[in-house]
């Protein structure tokens, strides 16, 4: 089946693929960073005492979680121009990815914070620590161990999500495959190479995630 796999074509297009990998990595990093911020803000809103803030946060998070990412991408891609915003595809894509991952990250952080046993919080209160001190010294350090592995999992999902940006003409890795297919009619070479590079990114992130799983868990010791 693989006789005649044209490695020369892949070599010829290698700089092109490398650019695609680089773009995918950059888009992922930027979106992840922005999504972390969005997630922290949304999580703070979700846990706040004011009903309005909580309501907005819940509405945001649940809308994202119950609708497909592609629909969200199209929502901004086709919708923003009608509001008068002429934003290039790349930025639109990053916006959609940021809001999408942001909602999931908000839930991951919330799960991490609520996983710290209430006894720990009581101990902090009894020592006279205020809310911010308790957060800084007691809750967040222990929440980190529970939060980092799922965050890395979300990073892996995000890298795969960037592939959908190819459908709004953003030049990332998947689009390289599409271009090679349409220019040279070689979908096998194109998409197997694309898949290979995604698998490389996946294994790097997965190794990091597995390592963090082992190293960062703090548990109450009886």
């Amino acid at each position: 089946m693989l006789e005649g796999f044209n490695f020369r074509i892949i070599w010829e297009y290698m700089p092109f693929f490398m650019e695609g990998v680089r773009n995918t990595a950059l888009i992922s990093l930027i979106s992840l960073f922005l999504a972390l911020i969005a997630g922290i803000v949304a999580c703070a809103g979700r846990l706040s005492k004011w009903k309005l803030l909580r309501g907005v946060a819940i509405f945001y998070i649940e809308s994202i979680r119950t609708t497909p990412l592609l629909v969200q991408i199209y929502f901004f891609y086709f919708g923003l121009p009608t509001l008068g915003f002429r934003i290039p595809e790349l930025q639109t894509g990053i916006l959609a990815l940021m809001l999408n991952s942001g909602a999931y990250i908000a839930e991951i952080i919330r799960a991490g914070i609520t996983s710290v046993p209430s006894g720990q919080i009581e101990a902090g209160v009894s020592s006279g620590l205020n809310y911010f001190q308790r957060m800084r010294f007691i809750i967040l350090p222990q929440a980190v161990g529970v939060t980092v592995p799922p965050l890395l999992g979300q990073a892996i999902v995000l890298v795969k999500d960037t592939a959908l940006l190819s459908l709004i003409s953003v030049m990332e890795l998947t689009r390289c495959g599409q271009v090679l297919t349409s220019e040279r009619f070689m979908p096998t070479e194109a998409f197997f190479t694309v898949a290979f590079f995604y698998l490389c990114l996946y294994f790097c992130l997965k190794t990091l995630a597995d390592w963090s799983q082992k190293k960062l868990i703090f548990r109450e010791v009886y």
């Binding site: 089946m1 809308s63 979680r65 119950t66 609708t67 497909p68 990412l69 592609l70 629909v71 969200q72 199209y74 929502f75 891609y77 086709f78 919708g79 923003l80 121009p81 009608t82 509001l83 892996i156 795969k160 999500d161 960037t162 592939a163 959908l164 190819s166 459908l167 998947t174 495959g177 599409q178 297919t181 979908p187 096998t188 998409f191 197997f192 694309v194 898949a195 995604y198 698998l199 990114l201 996946y202 294994f203 997965k206």
Partner: protein, 222 residues
């Protein structure tokens, strides 16, 4: 202007319902095949044969490490080069089934492994064959661990089905994509699309939450 477009949207609504129905068919088929194959592979994956376990592990890693859109391109564009010509709808269902099988396989394997080893021994000691042990003792207990994430996976598959729109299957997302050309109100069109996805996901999300709570209660009873 907006009200004019809104009116046209209302007129076109049946088209959206047809798209929704197609989404149900595609996602539903993928779900059914994915569950059947996922259970079979998951049981094998939880077994003792190291060769089979590793092979299935490779399959799962490849599926989890590559974007679904790339998988769809491979099924739709590369299979014909090997002599398997598929129409868009069968290709979509095949790709979604392959995706679902990989994820459900891991969920099932996790559930089976979670059943205490003593249960296997007790069942074996009564003279039950391996298949009887699985059918009567192990799987019924594994279902407790499997059901909540399984239903969650169904929601994910419904959202992933939106990606098959790229090979021309006229499901819900494609309907929105096609509509937005005639009714250039991206926000309205894709809000409607998103809402319809919400309508079919929400019952499953509620079911998953309910199952998770029930499982937590059962654990405390033990």
């Amino acid at each position: 202007m907006i009200s004019f477009y809104f009116q046209r949207l209302v007129e076109i609504f049946p088209f959206f319902l047809k798209g929704l129905w197609m989404t149900v068919i595609v996602a539903g088929s993928g779900l059914v095949f994915g569950t059947i194959c996922g259970f079979l592979l998951g049981i094998l994956r939880a077994g003792k044969n190291k060769v089979i376990t590793r092979l299935i592990g490779v399959y799962v890693a490849v599926i989890r490490g590559t974007p679904f859109v790339v998988q769809i391109f491979i099924v739709f564009f590369i299979l014909p080069e090997w002599g398997i010509q598929l129409d868009a709808l069968p290709a979509a269902i095949l790709a979604l089934s392959i995706l679902g099988t990989a994820f459900i396989c891991e969920i099932v394997a996790g559930g089976v492994k979670a059943v205490a080893a003593g249960q296997w021994e007790a069942a074996a000691s009564s003279g039950l064959t391996r298949i009887q042990q699985l059918r009567l003792v192990i799987i019924p207990q594994a279902m407790q661990t499997i059901l909540p994430p399984l239903v969650g996976q169904y929601v994910l598959l419904i959202k992933d089905s939106s990606v098959v729109s790229v090979i021309g299957v006229v499901e819900l997302t494609r309907v929105g994509w096609v509509t937005v050309v005639r009714i250039p109100e991206g926000l309205m069109v894709f809000s409607l699309v998103g809402f319809l996805y919400f309508v079919i996901s929400y019952p499953l999300i509620r079911l998953s939450n309910y199952l998770e709570k029930r499982m937590a209660v059962q654990e405390t009873k033990l």
